[in-house]
């Protein structure tokens, strides 16, 4: 049986909850936006997200795993990789059946795929701590637009909240159409970025571009290395590279 949920983590946990409650013979759990109808599939079963069911599953997970592993589970979910829910499902089945001891084996078939997905997400999260670029609007709002490969927005918030406790700032993921706004340390989600006008830049932005150009050492030019560390997919929202988009990365 295929279970569909509404893309949210709570939705996924609700699906897990229902599957356990009703002893469903789960063959797949898929988010609605990634579900592709195929001729041979049976009719999928739509799950209605219910936060209390979700939190019961969550509590069950947290009781059985330490923080690092809980973070790994959540991180792997954010990867949005095809089939990641099925790996999560297998992991959770084993977790609720026999407890968390197996989770210590990174090479277990339930663990390794999640571990790798979570590592990739963590790597991108770490990159975005550096690659988020705020522009300052006239009202003093710091505004950044990002298009990360994985859904890292929510795991970036804590860092910037600690860093800029006095500022008003917003980060908008234009690929997924959602954002966060932080004011006086309070975070809320925003859907429509009415202040979004693309990168206009200010004086500091010009100084920054100038700085970027003048610190390059021409004798050491190495575009391949640059492209590996700063992949092209991120350039559009980096003022220092946005105008160079025609540059090709060497293979």
């Amino acid at each position: 049986m295929t279970l569909l949920y509404d893309d949210s983590f709570d939705g996924f946990l609700t699906a897990v909850f229902e599957a356990f409650r009703l002893h469903l013979p789960v063959s797949r759990i898929v988010s609605e936006s990634r579900y592709e109808v195929s001729l041979f599939d049976e009719e999928p079963h739509r799950i209605v997200t219910d936060s209390s069911s979700a939190s019961r599953v969550w509590t069950g997970i947290v009781q059985r795993l330490d923080n690092d592993r809980v973070a790994m589970l959540y991180g792997s979910f954010l990867s949005e990789l095809t089939g990641i829910e099925d790996h999560l499902w297998k992991y959770l089945v084993r977790l609720f059946r026999e407890g968390g001891a197996f989770a210590a084996n990174p090479l277990a078939p339930e663990v390794l795929p999640l571990l790798k997905a979570a590592e990739a997400v963590k790597r991108e999260q770490h990159r975005f701590l550096g690659f988020v670029r705020f522009q300052k609007t006239e009202e003093g709002l710091l505004f950044a637009e990002i298009e990360p490969q994985y859904d890292v927005l929510l795991i970036l918030v804590g860092h910037f909240r600690r860093r800029y406790p006095q500022k008003r700032w917003a980060i908008f993921d234009s690929k997924r159409g959602k954002g966060v706004l932080c004011e006086n340390g309070e975070v809320c989600e925003i859907q429509i970025p009415d202040f979004h006008k693309g990168y206009q830049g200010d004086d500091f932005c010009d100084l920054w571009k100038q700085y970027y150009n003048s610190v390059t050492i021409a004798e050491r030019k190495n575009l391949r290395l640059m492209c590996r560390e700063l992949p092209r997919k991120y350039w559009a929202h980096l003022p220092e590279r946005a105008e160079r988009c025609p540059v090709r990365c060497p293979k």
């Binding site: 090479l107 006095q166 610190v215 390059t216 640059m226």
Partner: protein, 425 residues
């Protein structure tokens, strides 16, 4: 005529770019009450230049109007280059403006010697002091300790900075005397030792949140490679001494780029020794994270790193008696020495083998590149004939497989101070 801040920024950032350190790691400073900025102990890269180096800090000189005349330096007195000097407030403003837009982790401020070491050091400290105490700035601050600066100013610098560095630049005293007539080893070692001792004193006792900090991210130095005739052995011995003696957090190696016509130096058309520099970074990495001693990597009989291989592979080829290694029984430290296996994989192997045998399949699933490693690992499928390692055979084979890695120099000035390692028990 007074220069604009933009003109100064161009001159004084270009003048600072040959200092390769740009790391922002090692500080856990919390955001000050009512202020902005904190330390991210793993370090964060905000951008990468077209030469592939990480930009983490606003790296500038306060002034390039230097009184000294070091042969290898663009800013030396005898060069005819545009000169500029910042005002304290200009540097403060640039740092804060860049920081709140998330362009940088903080400031790396160095300077040419303006009048004398102490008055120069004082200017650097004033910038940092103003950032910390007037603007309540908690971001990363790396100050250069000017060679010859007095303990009083080093002390003040250490109280406001996250990291200090004194660059030794030339890896032997004789060469230093020849190339930098205004400096000597004492002007480098004295501040370095002073900082190391003070840091130990501050760290003694029970440090609490309220203990004042003194260079929490430690100190670093830089050596220029290829400007004078020192061997890799001399360089690595020196580096190893800095790590154990002065507790340096990092030693940077900077392949000499000929900027000056000078008969004491390689001619201006010389290509920077990038491959050699890369091998030195690899060797350094082995000393810091792979439990290698410098004299296992190079010795009197072969004082230079083999440019054809990375030093870890080189060691393995010189020591066939340790291989092949059985992953299921060997010590962690020996697994770490297998070419192609990094800290991440070694940890995965050691935690995984408690549950089940680790063979080639498991390695593949973990994402270990077997190209190298397969020759050094004992596994059941290994034909009897290969159970002893014949370095001569292997060298030929590996040479045929290896491309010159110049295009992928990867350890060069990465922001990392330690390898990324998965959280495992």
């Amino acid at each position: 005529m007074q220069k604009t801040i933009a003109e100064k920024l161009t001159i004084l950032s270009a003048a600072a770019k040959y200092d390769v350190s740009c790391s922002s790691s090692g500080s856990r400073r919390a955001t000050p009450q009512g202020g902005m900025g904190n330390g991210a102990s793993m370090g964060i890269c905000h951008s990468f230049t077209e030469d592939g180096r990480c930009i983490s800090l606003l790296k500038i000189l306060f002034s390039n109007a230097c009184r000294y005349d070091c042969a290898y330096c663009v800013n030396r007195r005898s060069n005819d280059v545009p000169r500029a000097t910042f005002e304290v407030d200009e540097v403060v403003e640039l740092t804060l403006g860049f920081y709140e837009r998330n362009y940088i982790e903080g400031l790396f401020l160095s300077s040419g010697v303006i009048r004398d070491p102490d008055s120069t050091m004082e200017l650097l400290v004033r910038v940092a002091w103003k950032l910390r105490h007037v603007h309540r700035f908690g971001g990363y601050i790396h100050l250069k300790a000017i060679p010859g600066a007095s303990p009083e100013w080093l002390q003040r610098a250490g109280e406001v900075a996250d990291r200090l560095s004194v660059n030794i630049e030339v890896p032997s005293e004789t060469s230093l005397k020849l190339l930098a007539p205004d400096k000597n080893y004492a002007s480098v070692y004295t501040p370095m030792n002073y900082i190391a001792e003070r840091k130990l004193e501050y760290g003694a006792g029970k440090p609490s949140r309220y203990t004042p900090k003194f260079v929490p991210a430690g100190q670093t130095t830089q050596m220029i490679v290829g400007a004078s005739g020192e061997s890799d052995l001399q360089i690595l011995r020196l580096a190893s001494g800095f790590y154990s003696g002065q507790h340096l957090k990092r030693v940077y190696y900077s392949g000499y780029i000929p900027v000056n016509e000078d008969k004491r130096l390689p001619v201006v058309t010389t290509k920077p020794p990038l491959l050699r520099e890369h091998r030195l970074y690899q060797a350094d990495w082995l000393m810091r994270f792979y439990e290698f001693r410098y004299d296992e990597i190079v010795d009197e009989s072969s004082p230079h790193l083999d440019e054809r291989f990375d030093p870890k592979l080189g060691w393995a080829l010189r020591h066939p008696e340790f291989f092949p290694v059985d992953l299921n029984t060997a010590d962690y430290s020996l697994i770490l020495r297998i070419p192609g296996i990094g800290v991440r994989s070694a940890r995965l192997i050691v935690s995984g083998r408690r549950f089940s045998r680790v063979g080639l399949d498991e390695l593949k699933k973990m994402g270990v590149a077997l190209k190298r490693a397969k020759y050094f690992i004992y596994h059941r499928e290994l034909p009897i004939g290969l159970r002893t390692l014949y370095p001569e055979m292997l060298t030929m084979r590996l040479l045929a497989e290896t491309k010159t890695p110049l295009q992928q120099l990867s350890l060069f000035d990465t922001n990392l101070e330690r390898p990324a390692v998965p959280a495992l028990s």
